[in-house]
Symmetry: C2
Subunit: 288 residues, 2 copies
């Protein structure tokens, strides 16, 4: 029995189980670190009690940037996040101290990629990308069946893409980079550009063609860098069903026959990819 | 004893040896496939004769796109290259048939990355990127000490980057994508934009600040996607010594403290990274 935590910018999804079929989850709103982490520890302690000591490990898939280096004193921390209350906040440390079980810690998107590889849209696919578009934009990728970590972890939301200010004068909302991908195409970017919540924009609003254009540019850039067979697009913004076909069409147009197109698909585990992946992180932590 | 071939858009570099210390090379100009491949085979047969049967394998690092799938009938071919005479040309097949030794086949930049990892600027670095800027732009990357292949292989020269046409009205020279990275920042792009060969532009010409800007955008995008500890910038355009410090400065400015900066360095093997890496490909082919 494992516990999984998907630590998101607006909510923490906490669950106990072994996989998507038996996973039971609750949600805790993301407020201050002190309040939210205390609520997570309460949930985990109750789960530990209920399990009769069978809770073997905890996995945490977190928004970032985070420190995943097990040899660093900053392991388990959220680092330079635009969410100032959470900057340099130790997330995994207090949980490990309170529970006294192994804790796996990685990005929310690496967790989601692990879950889609194990149970979802990327089963049997050794080279794929998981990109989530919501409050922020983040990506996790596998090459030769292994999650790409690099020096720390990918921050795909912060790639720079073409932005024609004559077509879209919005300057972007990323506090670090202005009009990087996240600054142009995250949920808050759509909200700021159109002064309307994304879910209130009708499906035929020009917002969606522009959004598909930006996301297609991101898919093309990652496809040219990693050559994934499959690109999974998840997150709140992708709940707009009109987006996926627009993105597929635009990716094909941008690639223009130069390289093979990746399959572009929704996550099979939907909103539960992150928390299911946190169970995989827990399993990996126990195995170490 | 191995033979290595770096198949480039303007020349083929052919060598025999075991590594950079004993490698002897010759150059063959890239003309038509029939002429060039025949000259390569002549070189290899002579090397085989001289070695007294000790030539164990041949490695080829080629310009692309290429097919590296050993299970595909197109293995060994150059596929959708903008160089029309070489499109769908079987490069490795005739060499394997003529020599009757194992042949390793990968992109020129993956070969260069392998060589820099073994003997060069990335020794002991498990996460790095090799980017070459010359007639074309290409990238090879390692994650967890392994070359990233993906579904086929990276085509990093064709990522899209911001292009402010008010600053730079040049529309780009990529026949597939216009103003992709290669279309804006390759040697031929510099030549077309300024009507001058890159090597004839003085070091303080505004061409170089613009070039550094585009290459910095590329480094930032790949750094956000792969999180490399080190970025090696090679190729003919990088012979301009003023470029590297401009790029480092611009990368730091663009990343703006959000993530740790990768080291940005020249290749230690210089122009011989590709052909040295072809020796590693030969060694790998023999081991299989």
């Amino acid at each position: 029995m494992y516990a999984g935590i998907e630590a998101g910018g607006t909510k923490f999804i906490c669950g106990v189980g072994t996989g998507p079929d038996d996973l039971e989850t609750i949600q805790i709103p993301t407020s201050t670190p002190a309040v939210t982490i205390a609520a997570v520890i309460d949930f985990l302690r109750a789960a530990q009690d209920r399990s009769g000591g069978k809770l073997a490990a905890v996995g945490i898939g977190s928004f970032g940037p985070i420190c995943t280096d097990p040899h660093s004193p900053a392991w388990g921390q959220i680092t330079s996040t635009p969410k100032t209350a959470w900057r340099n906040c130790d997330l995994a440390g207090p949980i490990r101290a309170a529970l006294d079980v192994p804790v796996g810690f990685d990005t929310d998107v690496n967790a989601a990629a692990l879950a889609e590889a194990r149970w979802g849209a990327a089963r049997g696919v050794r080279e794929f990308l998981y990109l989530t578009i919501g409050t922020g934009i983040g990506g996790g990728a596998m090459a030769s069946g292994r999650v790409i970590h690099g020096m720390s972890h990918p921050e795909m939301g912060h790639i720079r893409i073409p932005h024609d200010v004559r077509v879209d004068p919005f300057t972007g909302c990323c506090p670090y980079h202005g009009d990087c991908l996240e600054g142009l195409a995250s949920g808050p970017a759509i909200q700021s550009r159109w002064n309307t919540a994304p879910e209130d924009l009708p499906p035929d609003h020009p917002a969606w063609a522009l959004e598909a254009h930006y996301l297609a540019l991101a898919v093309v850039n990652v496809a040219c860098t990693l050559s994934p067979a499959c690109v999974i697009l998840g997150g709140g913004v992708m709940r707009q069903a009109q987006l996926l076909p627009l993105i597929r069409e635009e990716v094909a147009s941008l690639i223009n026959g130069y390289i093979a197109l990746p399959d572009i698909v929704p996550p099979k585990l939907g909103d539960r990819a992150g928390v299911c992946g946190a169970l995989v992180l827990a399993e990996q932590a126990q195995a170490r």
